[in-house]
Subunit: 142 residues, 2 copies
DNA sequence: GCTGCTATTTATAAGCA
DNA sequence: TTGCTTATAAATAGCAG
């Protein structure tokens, strides 16, 4: 016996797996693991969650607690108009240098604080409306 | 020194956490972990994925690669929704008098989410750069 | 809430059946 | 693909600040 036939789990490199069969196996295992994690989160914290994943073969897999569709609908009802901010961000990251990124970070942090406060305020109003009579005319206090 | 005052990680029990502050911490940590797992899956396998989670405080958190809304829409287009009580409720909600208020809230939540992700991503890059190769190009991980 | 710190538990990459 | 096995990488519960 010169050596063990394999070296155990190898460290993860964050690049797309090249070998197709290997990729398929990894996708299958990690999809299972992801859904399990989501299940645990939902159970432990008593929250609603939904996941959608498209396989390498473009087949949709989904997990949801209590149901994917209701989660999705609930999300869409609150986020009707998506924009491509993330895509722009990714593009920006590819092209920007570190100095620019730091400057942008500072600015974003300031913006985030403002947005957070706005969001919290509006959320309070929304909850208040929902608790009382959301189908009636709202008392607008912005 | 008689013994360490702490016994390390305890085995997981699959019931809802009772203590509110404990639950909040767990939710926060596990949500982060879940999103990270999804990110890895997307990167390693080159697939599209989207996650929506509602916090104990009913606040929506989302992750998506490339973008949550596109994933959700893609899912819904392939899985036509049967009519349900939830859908009607959402529809009613959309048409209610507080429509405008909700629109604005939704918009703000969306912006906030985008800003939050931008901030997080930029912060990661900043930290990574500071620790190691700040003079090289950043590794983008979303 | 939010970091950071371990001691543990979990997840999983590889290999093979 | 689905399941085992093992060695190792990662995630995280419980605390502390």
């Amino acid at each position: 016996m010169i050596k063990k036939p394999y070296m155990g789990r190898q460290k993860l490199s964050l690049v797309k797996i090249s070998k197709k069969n290997h990729l398929q196996v990894t996708f299958s295992k990690r999809r299972t693991g992801l859904f399990k994690k989501a299940s645990e989160l939902a159970t432990l914290c008593g929250v609603e969650t939904g996941i959608i994943v498209f396989s390498p073969a473009n087949k949709p897999f989904s997990f949801g607690h209590p149901y994917v569709d209701s989660i999705v609908n609930r999300f869409l009802s609150r986020n009707p108009q998506p924009d491509s901010g993330v895509n722009r961000l990714i593009e920006a990251h590819r092209n920007a240098n570190i100095h620019e990124l730091n400057m942008e970070l500072t600015q974003v942090l300031n913006e985030l604080e403002v947005e957070r406060k706005r969001g919290e305020a509006l959320d309070k109003i929304r909850k208040a409306c929902r608790k009382q009579c959301w189908w009636k005319s709202p008392i607008v206090e912005l």
